[in-house]
């Protein structure tokens, strides 16, 4: 084998998968995983671990994979990562662990994410339970939201012995893992639901259909329902729009709405009662992972799909793998392009999107080169659906109904980076609700570190 290259991973054929919602990546076999593991140099001072937000002991678990001791590998990962089957699939490894891999200097980095996924899937298939032993300490913690930050926080708190209840606004648990990330990237029944079932098995309780801030407030949870501490992991759920003309036309959706219909409500399935618009030609505005998810969903529902992104391909914030997969499946990338108006027919339905061409100027505050409009470059793309994927901001439902909870100018909850402590005693927060839209692994990491913060707080109370 060529030690410079990753062991190729099995994937569904692009032409086939562009028409189904089954998972694209099929994962390594035992043999492939063990072979890939031999590529790890087992560095004494592993940079990969530094690149991991939750510091998984990567060389150690890979060493166990090399030996074929997958059970042990799972135990090692589980010490640091509550949701390995999910992180192995959705972490931006190229900018984290794999980005720092010494192998990557001359050749391709070790496929750390794929190995993590292999180990987690192996354990799940074997029905292996995460090792845990805990005595109940009689204290109650409420966890708000059931996305990655909350699941990770709840998983650790229950291990410390707390009586943990997750409050979820929707009718199913999982947060963005459920409504945001599509089935073909993160299978719901086989991965997300199993990870959540594992938490339930560990003793975490989940109360669905409960909107904290509406159904019950944090004050009530603490004063009337006896919760000793609260973790807010409610995410960043409010979709942004551009504020351009025609944006309220029929056929313009936020990526959140489009993906929620398809993922949570399963509108892609003909047996689902929830409708989803099927378009001939779709424009997805934005270049992040969510934009890729929306584009690839629209493609599977049968349309020609264009990604419209105002910077160049190098600046696309999406994971490389997602961009690669989207291209393979036939998504067309209209880069250095920015919409200025959405055009409609007499019935108020979208029939085109007017755009301008852009060029890159000097770097802006984000360090990326600022896109500048090229004068007189207006042109129209005929589309019958537009999906806006411009990012999200935190929901004010909780901050506006909780006394003493400070938010910053971006409406994010102010919380200590290490402990997650907010300005309100006994209330902690982490994930997108604090940082604004980020990644699953960062949210998970914040959830875990807040679990330590909560534990310290309650031990000293």
């Amino acid at each position: 084998m060529d030690m410079m290259k990753k062991v190729p991973i099995r994937e569904q054929d692009p032409e086939v998968r562009a028409h189904n919602f089954d998972e694209v990546c099929l994962g390594y076999t035992k043999e492939q995983a063990m072979l890939e593991a031999t590529r790890c140099l087992e560095c004494k001072n592993p940079f990969c671990v530094m690149g991991c937000p939750v510091s998984v002991p990567i060389p150690e678990f890979i060493h166990k994979v090399k030996e074929g001791d997958f059970d042990k590998a799972f135990e090692i990962i589980s010490e640091c990562n509550t949701l390995p089957a999910i992180c192995g699939r959705v972490c931006p490894q190229e900018s984290q662990c794999e980005g720092k891999c010494v192998r990557g200097i001359k050749g391709e980095s070790v496929a750390i994410g794929k190995l993590e996924r292999f180990v987690a899937d192996y354990a799940m298939e074997k029905g292996k339970r995460r090792p845990h032993s805990h005595e109940k300490n009689g204290k109650k913690v409420a966890v708000i939201g059931s996305g990655p930050a909350s699941l990770a926080c709840a998983g650790d708190l229950v291990k410390y012995g707390y009586d943990v209840t997750i409050f979820e606004a929707l009718h199913e648990a999982g947060g963005v893992l459920l409504y945001g990330i599509p089935e073909f990237r993160l299978p719901k029944e086989d991965v997300v639901k199993k990870e959540i079932a594992m938490l339930l098995h560990m003793g975490v309780k989940i109360e669905l259909n409960t909107v904290v801030g509406k159904s019950v407030t944090i004050d009530e949870l603490m004063d009337k329902e006896g919760f000793d501490a609260v973790f807010i992991g409610s995410g960043a759920g409010l979709p942004k729009f551009m504020g351009i003309k025609g944006e309220n036309a029929n056929g313009v959706f936020s990526a959140n709405e489009y993906l929620t219909r398809s993922n949570l409500m399963k509108a892609f399935d003909e047996n689902s009662a929830t409708p989803i618009m099927r378009a001939k030609k779709v424009a997805v505005v934005g270049g992040g992972n969510v934009a890729m998810d929306a584009a690839r969903t629209a493609l599977r529902l049968g349309g020609e799909v264009h990604i419209i992104y105002r910077r160049s391909e190098a600046e696309l914030p999406a994971r490389k793998e997602e961009v690669h997969h989207a291209k393979e499946e036939g998504v067309i990338f209209d880069i250095l392009t920015n919409p200025v108006e959405i055009l409609t027919d007499d019935n108020g339905c979208v029939n085109g999107i007017k755009c301008v061409k852009m060029e890159l100027g000097e770097p802006d505050a984000s360090g990326r080169r600022r896109p500048i409009t090229i004068d007189g470059s207006e042109f129209v793309i005929d589309v019958d659906m537009v999906i806006m994927s411009l990012g999200t901001s935190p929901n004010p439902l909780i901050s506006s109904t909780t006394k003493g909870l400070e938010i910053n100018n971006r409406k994010c909850i102010v919380a200590d980076e290490i402990t997650g402590q907010t300005t309100r005693e006994g209330v902690f927060a982490g994930g997108d609700a604090v940082t604004g839209a980020a990644t699953v692994i960062l949210a998970m990491s914040a959830g875990r570190s807040a679990a330590v913060g909560i534990h310290d707080y309650l031990c000293n109370k």
């Binding site: 606004a169 929707l170 009718h171 669905l208 159904s215 959140n256 709405e257 108020g348």
Partner: protein, 296 residues
Amino acid sequence: MYEILNAQKLTDDIYSFVVKAQRVASSCLPGQFVIVRSHENAERIPLTICDYDRENSTITLVFQVVGAGSLRLSRLNTGDFLHDVVGPLGCESELCNTDISELKNKNILFVAGGVGTAPVFPQVKWLKEHGVDCDVIVGAKTKDMLIMEDQMKKYATNLYITTDDGSYGRQGLVTKVIEDLVNIEGKHYDMCIAIGPMIMMKFCCITTKALSIPTTVSLNPIMVDGTGMCGACRVTVGGEVKFACVDGPEFDGHLVDFDEAMIRQNIYKTEEGRAYLKEKEGDTHHGGCGHCGGEQ
């Protein structure tokens, strides 16, 4: 799961459910709504809360069959369970946050159209319980489609019923009653709350604007999550985009872009209509929906 303690058919296509929903019943206020799913895999349907009983932890939902989802919902009976009920969602009526003595000095008019009578009811009841008088106009197409007359009578200071065809009460649209009350019967109103079909609210607002009566409407656009996440319910109010689920559902009616709201409400009409006919007629459906080609 949320038990239906009492299911009733109010008219040919309007139903009332009393549902056990502890968290909603203990925290809801007039003007708020819930989202329900009748079964697993069913649609999420937003429904206004028509009444609530904190002691018994129940809420009353009144809804009209308009599509496949509500048809399926209507087939549930007393003793059955709703798969999901979430809420209360949206902001409470502005009335709840207004000083009571201020409200007592105001002449308040409610205008309810069809199933819109249901969301008007808790506000009228709330005012009465706080010692505030109000007049209520209830409009229906015909006598058989009128709902909640007795309950409304109990709490409204004056109740004016009108039917489009004159089969009961006055004859004509609610807008005519507003004009008659103000222009002919010498009534004066400081504020109006109009709830009903979008088209009714639009014309109510045109009427009240001409009469200089500030008017609040409650919008019922398409929604998915109801917590501000999807943006499906966006409406333009005074040139600004608002999300009805978190910023509303009540807005200043004189600022709402009703034409846009009506277009947006119809987005899934064909798809929804198709599903409705399939559900209603099942194997007996042989065309007429304009989509399946069965008529040929």
